[in-house]
Symmetry: C2
Subunit: 372 residues, 2 copies
């Protein structure tokens, strides 16, 4: 097995862990944030940009790539790595979440999910086996089991049935897997119900996966509830496997969930917010389009060392934003990803130095959380 997870250290004041994930395309230091490259590109960024930002792994979306340009085409052109010119690790999701959130029409059966493409309305049928086959064609280093992400809120009965379906599908994914050079992660579902979550963990661990993801969070529940569910789920998962909290989250979420023992994160927030002009800084969020920045010669964040902050004023970025210039989205994305990746680097450093809880306190002291 080429894939391996090494636990390098742990913080004694929290459940935070320091680790290393070894993959065929290089090592990933954890805790890690994975920038999202939905359509085989992290929006506005080149692979060189991502490397200069220190991105260790990126995520790409199976649903989108399956529909356009198609996994077979990507396979023919060297897999995702070759296609998009990224030679570091990649994780692909299974498409399950997107089928549920993007598709107008979808029908779940035991066998799989029938859905309509958001691009042209064509009908497709995705099964656990198909999701694995597609991900094998895409060729990511880490692939995900096909799961159902239940809506929030759902009844106990719905959640139970959905979780059991997810468990059966996980088994089928493992059985369908043929490539030896890809790691397969199981996904814990069960809504906000502790018993269902723990049963799901048990079932997945029985089957056995290279890593475990916590799915079905950040779907509308409160923050304390999310942290609670993430916390007991992470704790129940085996310590010798990476734990990945899917689709989360804000900088605060990352800090909180690292403290709960989560190793991996992904979220569109830094990239999407960048494109709509919301910038993350050491003192909170900054809405660059606001009039107060019209003649502000300061960089976005005076403490930030990114290319954007080293070279441009808030006034210039505001001008680019209002003028509808693409460079606005690009410079904002660069800054936000730098913020997220730098935050994770500092988190890893703090765990290494066994003072993560001090780091966390400093983080909150600096941060004056502003609504945006």
């Amino acid at each position: 097995m080429i894939f391996r997870f090494e636990l390098l250290g742990a913080d004694t004041g929290s459940k935070a862990r320091l680790g290393l994930i070894k993959t065929p395309h290089g090592d990933i230091e954890t805790p890690v944030f994975m920038p999202v490259g939905t359509q085989a590109t992290v929006k506005t960024m080149t692979p060189d940009d991502l490397k200069s930002l220190g991105a260790g792994i990126i995520l790409s979306n199976t649903y989108h790539l399956y529909l356009r340009p198609g996994h077979e085409l990507i396979q023919k052109l060297g897999g995702l790595h070759g296609f998009m010119g990224w030679d570091r690790p990649i994780l692909t999701d299974s498409g399950g979440y997107q089928v549920f959130s993007h598709s107008e029409l979808r029908k779940i059966t035991k066998e799989g999910v029938k859905f309509q493409s958001h691009l042209d309305g064509s009908y497709h049928f995705l099964t656990p086996e198909a999701a694995v086959n597609i991900q094998e064609a895409l060729g990511a280093d880490i692939i995900m089991c096909f799961d159902e992400c239940a809506p929030y809120p759902s009844t106990y009965d719905y959640l139970k049935e959905s979780m059991e379906l997810t468990l059966r599908w996980a088994k089928r994914c493992k059985d369908a897997k043929k490539r030896e050079d890809q790691a397969l992660f199981g996904i814990v579902q069960g809504g906000m119900d502790r018993d269902l979550r723990l049963k799901c963990v048990e079932g997945l661990v029985d089957t056995g996966f290279d890593g475990y993801a916590i799915g079905g969070l950040s779907v509308g529940e409160t923050k304390p509830l999310m942290y609670e569910v993430a916390g007991y789920t992470a704790e129940a998962l085996p310590g010798d496997r990476p734990r990945y909290l899917m689709g989360v989250g804000t900088p605060e979420d990352l800090v909180e969930c690292v403290a709960l023992g989560v190793d991996m994160f992904d979220c569109v927030m830094p990239t999407r917010n960048a494109r709509t002009g919301t910038l993350f800084t050491s003192f909170g969020k900054l809405t660059i389009k606001n009039a107060q920045y019209a003649d502000d010669p300061a960089p976005v964040d005076p403490e930030c060392g990114c290319y954007t902050c080293s070279n441009f004023s808030r006034a210039y970025l505001r001008h680019l934003y209002h003028a509808g210039e693409i460079l606005a989205m690009r410079l904002n994305t660069l800054h936000n990803l730098h913020y997220y990746l730098d935050l994770m680097k500092n988190i890893r450093k703090a765990i290494k130095e066994n003072n993560f809880m001090d780091f966390r306190e400093d983080f909150y002291n600096k941060m004056e959380v502003k609504k945006c």
Copy 2:
């Protein structure tokens, strides 16, 4: 005077010239192509990108910057150079051309032009003096006289009156100019009429400018007519001043007009075409959205050494384009600007080696001009 033009050589088989323009922000090797940065950004590119492409000077548009974010704001933030983080030379146009082409409502008087903003419909009055004042606030190294670009076709009487107005305005621009660290170029108008063009040259030279531009071309006339007018106008201009052909053009136009003795060019073509998926190559234009490139693993131009061609396939670029990804516009822009700037570099090399006409022949032999 900080501004100086040195003639370094001339091709004996044509009128092509090799030169060096010295400005407060560095030297510009001519013949030169100036990428267009309308709103204080060459669309999708950072200053670092432009430097890595070897851009020696860029152009920015006074009309747009005057309306948004305003020249006074830019002046306050360090002028255009400081505002956009570009420390190499900049040329600003006078706003005249944009007033005529963008503005719904405009009224020309002897005094100046009243026009309505394309952004908010507000009324503005631009005079030669105002155009100079605004350009002094923007702080480019080379600024342009306020002129009228007559529509094509126009009657002789209209062209004559318009040219004479342009001459009087040129004088007023020179009188209004206060900054010693900026060069002021006069603009030759006169439509497609040889006598009017030559009279305009005479009048401008009488007043005396640091350089001379040929305006009012590429407005709908045929290519042979454009080359004819550019040819006799360039020939009539003083040999010891740079000659700038405004808003031109295709790669073929650059080669032809260099042969006629033109030193400077600007055009939105490489950047605008990039954003709509038309790429310039050594063998002609390539429309990246075409189905034939869907699974093409080759780079856009196998002879090109740009970042795009070194790292990505036509298939990937086509995917990005169809997926509406910003990276498509960025990678395409990078390629097209590389093509234009590399072409100019090769043109300069050929003039230096006194074999420009051989270069020109090779250029056409390679090029299979395709309509796009």
